[in-house]
């Protein structure tokens, strides 16, 4: 387990001034799995992701991605990962196609244009490819954002609250993408504050609370730990979504895609 883990975190600590955000986080993620890091706002999810993607140095403990220690070999870590941050990281002034070509060239991959075209098709952005991203809807931006993260096929993907602020349709599009990636062997660490998102996507769920992982396991394992009322709350959200989607129907999806 220790030699094969895609992500290995042990005793990770981080404080901002007097405020201890991470108080000893331990987590192992097996290759090719989707793990959801679940926690409320301010629980430290983003801090964990930033440390793993070498944007932030931890105070203590260790973290390794794809076998490379973030403190010792940050450059090797960056070669192994892609980050889709909490805020969509796209260039508003460039077109969708130009954004993808930009990242492909920075990743030094062969045939940046060909890769851009493939991803545009794959993410349903073909029609908008030549338009400036500033004109995109929130869902289109997020899809472009995720598409940009897939260039160069990094084995480990960090998705920091990938569906926050998205409407249900866009949200499910992102979910489909994440599932497809995991099917292709990509390891995904996903942070979310949505219980249904974790339930829908993740093989395993880790709950981050007050700077520590207080529970970790499959949804079935976690269900046994929690009192029934919580489970009921988890069950409710998809039901409301079903109603919403049934009412809005397919026409809503079309409106969303063309951007309003």
């Amino acid at each position: 387990m220790t030699t094969t883990a895609a992500i290995e975190i042990a005793g990770l600590t981080k404080s901002y001034g007097d405020h201890a955000v991470l108080r000893g986080v331990d987590l192992n993620v097996a290759p090719g799995t989707i793990v959801a890091l679940l926690g409320s706002n301010g629980a430290g999810k983003t801090t964990v992701v930033k440390i793993l993607s070498t944007l932030l140095e931890p105070d203590g403990g260790s973290a390794a991605v794809n076998g490379h220690d973030v403190a010792v070999a940050p450059a090797r870590v960056r070669e192994s990962i892609s980050l889709t941050g909490q805020f969509t990281a796209v260039d508003e002034i460039l077109t969708g196609r130009e954004n993808l070509v930009l990242v492909a060239r920075l990743r030094h991959v062969q045939d940046p244009r060909g890769i851009a075209e493939d991803l545009l098709t794959q993410f349903g952005l073909g029609d908008a490819a030549g338009r400036r991203v500033a004109t995109y809807s929130g869902g289109m931006r997020r899809r472009l954002d995720v598409a940009m993260s897939l260039i160069g096929h990094p084995p480990v993907l960090f998705l920091d609250e990938p569906t926050t602020g998205l409407d249900p349709q866009s949200r499910m599009e992102v979910w489909d993408t994440v599932r497809r990636l995991a099917g292709q062997g990509t390891t995904v660490l996903l942070t979310t504050q949505y219980l249904d998102e974790a339930e829908q996507l993740a093989d395993r769920i880790a709950i981050l609370h007050e700077g520590r992982i207080i529970a970790e396991g499959t949804i079935a394992e976690l269900r046994q730990l929690f009192p029934p009322p919580t489970v009921e709350y988890v069950e409710k959200q998809p039901a409301l979504e079903d109603i919403f989607l049934a009412i809005v129907g397919h026409a809503g999806t079309e409106t969303q895609r063309t951007g309003s």
């Binding site: 070498t54 140095e57 941050g85 260039d91």
Partner: protein, 252 residues
């Protein structure tokens, strides 16, 4: 495998495309200095005694420095936009040379400022500015302007990285716009009262302006040239060191 040069080239191309799509940033940069040029030559010029030559010849170097000072506000703004959006983090989490992220902006600033400077010089030529300087002297003028632009650009990187709001980004350049007024840029320092004159003669704008003026008037540059060069190089090194340490501190 060092990817600094190709990565910087890609990022330079990206920001240049930004400028191409909003050429108003270059025009706005040039508008204030051009307005000053017109105002001082055609309104105040007749009341200003600055040697025997045409006043536009006397005034141009100071206006060129003001052009750079207003141009770098956009450098800070462009960097601030990247930092406050997510794209800066994306770049920093990618396997690219980390310094390329800043150098892309620095070189873009250089290109944008040189275009603005060319615009201002063209207007000055239209207003009667003439030079008999040779190629070497003009290369020296270009060299000093490039050094000065790089120094102010690295200075602009600091608010670009740290500012909390767009207002904070642009605010830092106002003092820079004001410095030329207390120098030999508009009037000779000889007529200023003691302490003001002392300040004017010991701040960087005066030797830089005097050197530029002597270069394109084809006069010997003398010691002032070295002082100007020293100021530019010193400011550049200082600004670079401050910007890099700000970057390290903020994004360790």
């Amino acid at each position: 495998m060092n990817t600094f040069l190709p990565d910087t080239a890609v990022l330079l191309q990206r920001s240049l495309r930004h400028i191409l799509r909003s050429p108003d940033t270059i025009i706005t940069t040039a508008v204030t200095p051009i307005a000053m040029l017109l105002l001082f030559v055609y309104v105040f010029g007749s009341a200003i005694h600055a040697g025997s030559g045409r006043y536009v010849d006397y005034l141009l170097p100071g206006i060129l420095l003001i052009t750079v000072a207003s141009g770098i506000a956009y450098t800070a703004f462009r960097l601030h936009t990247d930092v406050s959006g997510g794209i800066f983090e994306r770049f920093r989490s990618m396997p690219i040379a980390r310094s390329a992220v800043l150098w892309g902006h620095v070189l873009t600033s250089l290109v944008a400022n040189l275009i603005s400077l060319a615009l201002v010089v063209l207007v000055a030529v239209g207003m009667g500015f003439r030079s008999h300087a040779g190629v070497l002297a003009w290369l020296a003028v270009l060299g000093i302007l490039v050094l000065f632009t790089l120094a102010l650009t690295w200075l602009a990187i600091i608010p670009g990285l740290t500012a909390k709001s767009v207002d904070g980004v642009s605010g830092f350049s106002y003092p820079l716009l004001f410095l030329p007024f207390i120098s030999s840029a508009f009037v000779p320092t000889a007529g200023m009262p003691g302490p003001v004159r002392w300040f004017a003669e010991h701040q960087p704008v005066t030797p830089i302006v005097d050197t530029l003026r002597n270069l394109y008037a084809d006069r010997p540059v003398g010691n002032t040239g070295w002082i100007a060069l020293g100021w530019c190089a010193g400011l550049l090194l200082l600004a670079y060191a401050l910007a890099v340490s700000t970057y390290r501190r903020r994004f360790a």
